[in-house]
């Protein structure tokens, strides 16, 4: 469960400010977050993930207030409990598909890179239809394939919370459906909470709840 109350965030001394009076997302809920560009949707995801820290207010994920943790604990929580999917995929072009999926294990000592992790990565890749391309370099994949790799990377640890920032923004209609299918299916299977930022109104019916960011901030 995600619980936000009286959240106040500001980028340095800049003009941009984000104030969220209240938001509660139940565990296992599938939520779409819509709103105009630049309104702070991505920032909210960063706050939920503990990537950005609020100036005031409460934000808790499964009862854990990430701003209250030290940096290492926050990172460990994030890597163990939260799966992140980005609009631009953010794959490392110099790594293979398998290495990209296993990247969280390579970059954090909290996740050991062992046989179990490899097996899970391979299973995830097969599950989203890229199992035959495990050794292919990321740069040689299509856009849809890249996003599927990014989804596999986010799901490697079977997170309780999946935060997807416009995961279908760069995809053609077929791939949009497919990637969203994967995300929703995996979230349902593991009982994970899914919060997706999207501009694509055709996809909104796939979510249990749609939050308009303008209403959220008012």
């Amino acid at each position: 469960m995600i619980e936000i109350r009286d959240l106040d965030f500001r980028y340095g001394e800049g003009d941009f400010a984000l104030r969220v009076p209240e938001l509660v997302v139940e565990r296992g809920e599938r939520v779409a977050l819509i709103g105009p560009s630049g309104s702070g949707k991505t920032t909210l995801l960063h706050l939920i993930a503990g990537i950005a820290l609020p100036r005031a207010g409460r934000i808790a994920t499964d009862g854990v207030a990430l701003p209250d943790l030290d940096d290492a604990a926050r990172r460990e929580f994030r890597i163990r409990r939260i799966g992140l999917v980005f609009q631009e995929f953010e794959l490392l072009e110099y790594l293979s598909v398998l290495d990209n999926i296993l990247l969280p294990c390579r970059i954090s000592p909290a996740l050991p890179l062992n046989a179990a992790a490899r097996e899970r990565a391979v299973a995830l890749a097969h599950g989203v239809g890229i199992g035959e391309k495990l050794d292919r370099m990321a740069e040689r994949l299509s856009q849809g394939e890249k996003q599927r790799v990014a989804v596999c990377r986010a799901l490697l640890v079977a997170p309780g919370l999946i935060l997807a920032d416009e995961p279908t923004g760069n995809l053609d209609p077929d791939n949009k459906e497919r990637v969203l299918d994967i995300l929703i299916e995996r979230a349902q299977q593991s009982g994970a909470t899914l919060i997706t930022v999207t501009h694509d109104r055709d996809l909104l019916e796939r979510f249990e709840r749609v939050i308009d960011f303008r209403e959220l901030l008012s």
């Binding site: 990172r75 994030r78 890597i79 992140l84 953010e90």
Partner: protein, 393 residues
């Protein structure tokens, strides 16, 4: 740590051209001063070894360096000549053994060294095939000369004319090869050794021709007295010394006045050497005697001075190269900011992300150092051979 290194390695391998250029640049800038130092040290050793095995060298007054380079390495133009009398004088003094040298002519780019058999003993040269030269017109080849000229005992070589257009000049002499020396890894390997008298014949100071008393030469005789016969140019001059004509070869005038480019003096003792040096110190002396090792030391000092200038230039170059490498790296980090942010967002610590970058630098530096070490090892291993090849070419 292993995973951070893996990520760094994958990045470097993916950008292999950029990585290779960086490694090559840094390796070269490290190798240049080290390799140069190795090469100079080995060159110095090669040069001084030859000089150290030549205790004293006598020649006409002039450039000591030119005298040493011509006499020891068969390089440079022939220096001003001294006379055979100087060799006789040293031998007569009983202070040293005298080995005459007349190094002026060439055969197919190889130096012809006119000397005596004592030269082989002084230089510890041994025959690999055949025998030493015994009579006029015979020659012994150094190992490299034999290989390059594809000649051995039984073959013959022709001395090169000094000038094609000098009609009154020296005729080429056909020399018979009677022996080939073992390889000595010194300039002797590329030389053609003849008796000093054969060298004088090449110069035209000695010659052989048709017997003017014979009836076949009658048409060439211009005048005849009891002690002198004068012939015209139709008389047959021999350009090859054979068993049939060797008796006709003769020298005009006193041999003591014949030219030498140098005389190697091997003193009986250190004291004898000092005495010999003293005898040539006077300003009235027409010859100079010197210790080749001192001349080479002076040359090496000059080389070391040049080396220090080169090293200073390399140091400036090194600063520029490292600055460029740092710039390339810094720009790379800027271009990869998003990628590095991703690593952090998905759970990597700042130190782990920095570790990837530092590992990339370390890997490049280690590979560059290994490359430089490899090049230095190669230089150390093959530098001597390359220097010898250079000195022998």
């Amino acid at each position: 740590m292993k995973d951070v290194l893996y990520l760094a390695w994958r990045y470097l391998a993916y950008h292999r051209v950029k990585t290779a250029i960086l490694i090559a640049s840094i390796a070269l800038i490290v190798y240049l001063p080290v390799g140069l130092n190795v090469l100079v040290s080995q060159s110095a050793a090669e040069l001084t070894a030859r000089a150290e095995s030549t205790p004293l060298l006598l020649g006409a007054k002039g450039s000591p360096l030119e005298l040493v380079l011509n006499s020891l390495y068969f390089e440079s133009e022939a220096p001003d000549t001294t006379t055979y009398e100087q060799a006789e004088r040293i031998a007569a003094s009983g202070l040293a053994e005298a080995v005459p040298l007349y190094i002026r002519f060439r055969s197919r780019e190889r130096p012809i060294v006119g000397t005596s058999l004592e030269y082989f003993a002084v230089r510890s040269l041994r025959l690999a095939a055949g025998r030493p030269m015994a009579v006029l017109g015979e020659c012994v080849l150094g190992a490299e000369a034999a290989r390059a000229l594809e000649a051995g005992p039984g073959d013959s070589l022709v001395s090169s004319p000094e000038s094609v257009f000098d009609l009154a000049g020296v005729y080429p002499l056909r020399m018979r090869v009677v022996g080939v020396l073992e390889r000595a890894h010194t300039p002797d390997d590329r030389a053609i050794f003849v008796d000093v008298k054969t060298a004088w014949i090449i110069e035209g100071l000695g010659h052989g021709h048709q017997d003017l008393a014979a009836p076949q030469a009658a048409s060439a005789v211009l005048s005849r007295t009891d002690d002198r016969i004068t012939a015209n140019a139709s008389i047959v001059q021999y350009n090859e010394i054979t068993a049939d004509n060797i008796d006709s070869f003769h020298f005009h005038g006193e041999l003591s006045g014949y030219p030498l480019t140098a005389v190697i003096a091997v003193p009986e003792s250190e004291r004898s050497g000092v005495i010999l040096l003293g005898r040539y110190e006077g300003a009235d002396q027409i010859a100079q005697i010197l210790r080749p090792v001192q001349v080479m030391d002076e040359l090496l000092e000059t080389i070391l001075t040049i080396q220090s200038y080169v090293l200073a230039a390399v140091a400036v170059l090194a600063v520029a190269t490292l600055a460029t490498a740092a710039l390339v790296f810094w720009l790379g980090v800027r271009l990869r900011r998003r990628e590095l942010e991703t690593l952090w967002k998905i759970g990597g610590s700042r130190s782990a992300v920095a570790g990837v970058l530092v590992s990339e630098v370390v890997v490049v530096l280690v590979l560059a150092a290994a490359t430089a070490a490899g090049l230095t090892a190669l230089t150390s291993r093959f530098g001597s051979a390359a220097i010898r090849m250079f000195l022998l070419s």
